[in-house]
Amino acid sequence: MTPVSDAAQKKTPLYEEHVRLGAKMIPFGNWIMPVQYSGIMDEHQAVRKNVGVFDISHMGQLVATGPTAGVWLNEMLTNNTQKLEVGTGQYTFLLNESGGIIDDLIVYRTAPEEFLLVVNASRTDEDFAWLERHRANDLALSNRSADYGGLAIQGPRVVDLFQSILGDDVDLPPRNAIVDLAAKGKELLIARTGYTGEDGVEVFFPTKDAAMVWNEVLDKGKALGIRPCGLGARDTLRLEMCYPLNGSDLSPEHNPIEAGLGFFVDLKKPKFIGREELVKAKETGTANRLVPFRMKSKGPPPRPHYSVWRDGEQIGEATSGTLSPSLNQGIGMAYVAAPHARAGTEIEIEIRGQKFPGTIEKKPLYKKS
C-alpha cells in the first residue's frame, strides 16, 4: 500500500466533505479524489437501482465566446457543432494532426455565440493550451475550471430527487441538453448526461456553493437510497456500458475510428484537425480495433495491459478491466488486431502466466433488464 502524499495534489471544494464521510482518498492525476465511501459494490448498485452522487469538480470547463466560435470549434473538434441548438450538447473528440485523441469531451452551446466544453481533469491544461494555440483572433477562450464545482447525480431515481430539491416548477432538460437556472435566480447549470448508463445529470455551480449543493443532494436523496460514490464505482459503471476512459482506452496513439467511436466524427465536414488521417482510417480500415470482452469462467478479473490471445497467437492488449458488479464476471476492453475484432470471437486473457477464456462482445456489456 502506498501512502497518499498531500504534496502537489489538488483538492476539490468537496475534499473536506469526502474526508468527513470517511472516503478513501487516492491520487488521480494531479488531484486527490475519493475512490470509495461505503464500497464499490454498494455504490455501484445504488446507481443501478436508486441514485448516486459523484464529485466531478475536478473536471475542466472551457468557454469559447464570439460570433465565429461555432465555426472555429468545428475545425477543432470531430463532431458537428453546427448541429447544436442553444441548450444542447454533444460528445466529441479533440484530435492532434495525426488523428490521435488528445481528449474526449462534451461541448454544449450555452448561447448563440457561446460554447462550454466539459473536459477530462487530467487534460484540462493541455486542451486549453492546444485550443489557445489554434485560437482565431476574433473569439475569446477562457479556462473556467477553478470557478466551477460539479456533481454527477446518476440513477433511475434522479427525477424524483430533483423534484424534491427544486420543486415542480423546474423540469430536467431532455437527454444531452443543458439548462441554466440563472433565470430562476439559481447559479446552477444542469446537463442531462452522464457516464454510468443510467438516467442522470451533471450539474455545475460556483465553487463556493459546492458543500451546500452536495449536502442538499445527500440530504434530499436519503429517502431515495442515495449513496456518495467514488472513482471506483464510476469506473465499473462506465466499463459495463463500454464508455471509454481517456488515458486508458483512448490516447494520442489511437484515433476514434480504431476506438469504434466513428459515430462522433463527422467526416462530411470539409476541415477539422486530424481529418485526413481519419478519412484514411475509414477507407482502408485500421490495424486494430477497441472491443469489449467478457470472461467465461469465474477466474481473476482482467486488468489493463493484460495480453489478449487467440489460437496461441497474441492479438492485442487490454486497456480496461474489472469485475462487473452487475454481471458478477470479469469484463474489459482491449485493442485487438482487426481480423479478430468480431463479436463472438473466442479469446484468452493471460493473467500471471495463465490463460483464461473470454469472448469478444457487443457494446454495451451490461443491458438493463
Binding site: 500500500m1 464499490i40 459494490m41 477466474g299 481473476p300 478479473p301 486488468r303 469485475l323
Partner: protein, 125 residues
C-alpha cells in the same frame, strides 16, 4: 482497527497465527479495509516451498490485484478452499474464516522476527 494480541504481523500486512510448527496466514483487518471488496483470491499450491517475503498468493479487489507474501520460510500444507467460492470472507472475517494458507515453518524461531501486535498497531497508526 482490529489487531488481535495473539498474532504476529508483517510490514506487508499479513498476519501469522503460530500453531505448533505451522503458521496460519491471512491479511489484516487494516489490509482488507484498504483493498476493499475482495473478488478473487489466487491460492498457493499445496507443497509449494517459499522463502520469507516470497510472493505466494494474490488477492484481487474490484480495483486492483495485490501480492501476498509468505511471512516466514516454509512449505504450504493447507489452503483455504472456501475463498474460491466466497472471497469476501477476507473482508468479513479477516482473522478467522478469511485465512488464506498454512505454512509448515522451516524454523519456528522465524516468527520471532515478525512484529507483535503493539508494533503493528504503531506501524498502521
Amino acid at each position: 482497527m482490529n489487531v488481535p494480541d495473539d498474532l504476529f504481523y508483517t510490514e506487508s500486512h499479513e498476519w501469522v497465527r503460530q500453531e505448533g510448527e505451522n503458521a496460519r496466514v491471512g491479511i489484516t483487518d487494516h489490509a482488507q479495509a484498504e483493498l476493499t471488496d475482495v473478488v478473487y483470491v489466487e491460492l498457493p499450491k499445496i507443497g509449494a516451498q517459499t522463502e520469507a517475503r516470497g510472493q505466494i498468493a494474490v488477492v484481487e479487489s474490484v480495483k486492483a490485484a495485490s501480492d501476498i507474501y509468505a511471512p516466514v520460510k516454509g512449505t504450504v500444507v493447507e489452503v483455504n478452499k472456501a475463498l474460491e467460492g466466497n472471497p469476501a470472507l477476507i473482508n468479513t472475517d479477516p482473522f478467522g474464516e478469511g485465512w488464506i494458507f498454512v505454512l509448515k515453518m522451516d524454523s519456528t524461531d522465524d516468527v520471532k522476527r515478525l512484529k507483535d501486535a503493539a508494533a503493528y498497531r504503531k506501524a498502521i497508526a
